[in-house]
């Protein structure tokens, strides 16, 4: 966007091959440069003892730890444990969240009651109630699933409601002229129209769920990535902490991307429907 940066486009000229590659792959080049601009000084600082290895580990050490952990196989148990909690909690949140959202969006009285509650619960810091949850559920699989469930539920509900409300008046008008029943309207207009919003809610809910898992594992667990991090932190095994963090980050990025792709597919359809 030459205009945005306040410069007029220059006249034609023939740039060298290196410049051309750079311009074509600018994002990649800069991104890689950004990654290395942190990794390299980090490694150097640790190698030259300017920073104590125990505080931060170093990229090479982390990589080495990765390999050993993989070979030992204990990493897989932790990953599986975390994944199990996440999946169960998220799926439950998705089911209930969408159902509640659809009902609250569609039925007037339900929305009067649900809206204030959802808004307050969404804004409320769930963590503040964790001690009482422990009192109720003890610490175990159920507790962890519950935390994950709560973390994602409200996001999904609120976005679903927004999706129902976003149904366009003109489509409803079309349904009326053809005498569609209310059930048909819901099925053929409201529901498809809500899908993009539901997808957004699911995406955000998924990442909230990851936070939920880690929080739950911090508090009460003897397995899982969150537990791995806390244990390694307490035993000052910084490399293992980093391994855990990297795995979590990767998981977070992965789920984020998956949902974003799905969302984009629906986004295209939505835009086309509006033209």
């Amino acid at each position: 966007m030459a205009v945005l940066n306040g410069r007029a486009p220059r006249g034609p000229s023939r740039p060298g091959p290196l410049r051309r590659w750079y311009r074509a792959n600018r994002r990649l080049a800069l991104g890689v440069a950004g990654i290395f601009s942190v990794l390299v000084p980090w490694e150097l600082l640790v190698r030259t003892r300017l920073v104590k290895a125990i505080l931060t580990s170093s990229p090479t050490e982390v990589a080495a730890t990765f390999v050993t952990e993989f070979q030992r196989g204990s990493l897989w148990t932790d990953v599986r444990a975390t994944l199990a909690v996440w999946v169960v909690g998220f799926v439950l949140a998705a089911i209930f969240g969408i159902l509640i959202g659809l009902a609250a969006g569609w039925f007037r009285r339900a929305s009067y009651v649900a809206n204030p509650w959802l808004n307050v619960l969404y804004a409320a810091p769930e963590l503040a109630f964790v001690p009482i949850f422990i009192l109720w559920f003890g610490i175990g699989f159920g507790f962890k699933v519950f935390i994950v469930f709560l973390a994602a539920l409200f996001f999904i509900s609120i976005n679903t409601i927004a999706g129902v409300h976003a149904t366009e008046e003109r489509f409803l008008a079309v349904a009326h002229t053809f005498g569609a029943s209310r059930l048909t309207i819901f099925r053929t207009i409201v529901l498809p129209g809500s899908v993009p919003y539901i997808m957004t809610g699911l995406r955000q809910g998924a990442s909230r769920a990851v936070v939920g898992v880690v929080a739950a594992e911090f508090i009460s667990s003897n397995e899982g990535l969150g537990f791995l991090i806390i244990l390694s932190g307490q035993t000052l095994n910084t490399s293992r902490v980093m391994v855990g963090i990297v795995m979590l980050a990767a998981f977070g990025i992965f789920t984020g991307e998956v949902f974003r792709r799905i969302e984009q597919r629906f986004e295209v359809w939505r835009r086309e429907a509006n033209t």
Binding site: V3, A8, P9, R10, G11, P12
Partner: protein
């Protein structure tokens, strides 16, 4: 010596896939002081590009623009542009918006406000100084737009389809008002529009541009005497002019439509 001259303007740019597209080719145009000149042409023929080149926002790949015999500088204090719809800053009041050009020139706020006042009255917005753009109708916003351009006292006024987003009735009234204001200040005006009857009604000359790459096809003098009321549009002389221009444009418009068709078919296939 002509007030504003465009000599052999060429504009080429490179598309993302590397192909070169020519937007303007050999455009040469001379405008006298206090003349009102309109440019009409099919969509995409480069009218807006030409205007931006004259304003100094874009540097052409070839040719020069001369103002009173001297090449223009990028800093365009002697030219002011009236943009299409909704180009007022929504977060500033009407008064602050109209004073923006002065603000950019370093005029202190109080002085700027003082200078803005008569122009607000001129365009009929007195009393709306503290309102925000979203509170104004389309016609009122464009009037503020016009005032903003006039307040900096430019040598040349450039107008890029300023009435395009208005409904037909408001548009007609704004045309009459524009002529009224113009007759008071007698600025040199370069006006772009799609509507042929708008161009003929407002201008001393109508320049017809071809489809892309834009070239000047014809330069017609409009001999209808001023001052012109809206009723003039229904007269025979006016209709005759309209026919002439439309004949020239019709072929170009068809070319453009065909090109768009082919492009969409190609994209879908």
């Amino acid at each position: 010596m002509a007030e504003l001259e465009a000599r052999d303007i060429e504009m080429e740019y490179e598309r993302r896939d590397g192909t070169r597209v020519s937007a303007l080719e050999g455009v040469t145009l001379a405008i006298e002081k206090s003349e009102f000149v309109s440019i009409v042409g099919p969509s995409g023929c480069g009218k807006t590009t030409l205007l931006k080149i004259v304003n100094g926002l874009i540097t052409p790949t070839g040719g020069t623009i001369l103002l009173q015999g001297r090449p223009i500088s990028q800093n365009s204090r002697d030219r002011a542009m009236v943009f299409q719809d909704s180009s007022l800053f929504p977060w500033f009041s009407v008064a602050r918006n109209v004073a923006y050009g002065l603000e950019c020139q370093g005029v202190p706020a109080k002085e700027a406000r003082r200078r803005v006042q008569p122009y607000l009255e001129m365009v009929g917005l007195a009393g709306f100084e503290q309102h925000y753009p979203y509170e104004l109708s389309g016609g009122m916003q464009q009037r503020a737009n016009l005032a903003r351009a006039l307040v900096v006292d430019p040598q040349v006024l450039l107008m890029d389809e300023p009435f395009a987003s208005l409904d037909a009735q408001t548009r007609e009234m704004m045309q009459a008002e524009l002529l009224d204001i113009w007759s008071q200040s007698k600025k040199t005006v370069l006006f772009i529009t799609h509507q042929i009857n708008e161009a003929i009604y407002l201008s001393d000359r109508v320049v017809v541009m071809s489809a892309r790459p834009g070239r000047i096809l014809a330069d017609l003098r409009i001999d209808i005497p001023r001052p012109r009321t809206l009723a003039v549009k229904r007269g025979d002389a006016f209709r005759a002019q309209e026919d002439r221009v439309w004949q020239l444009i019709e072929q170009q418009a068809r070319l453009t439509m065909k090109a768009t068709q082919l492009r969409t078919e190609g994209a879908a296939g």
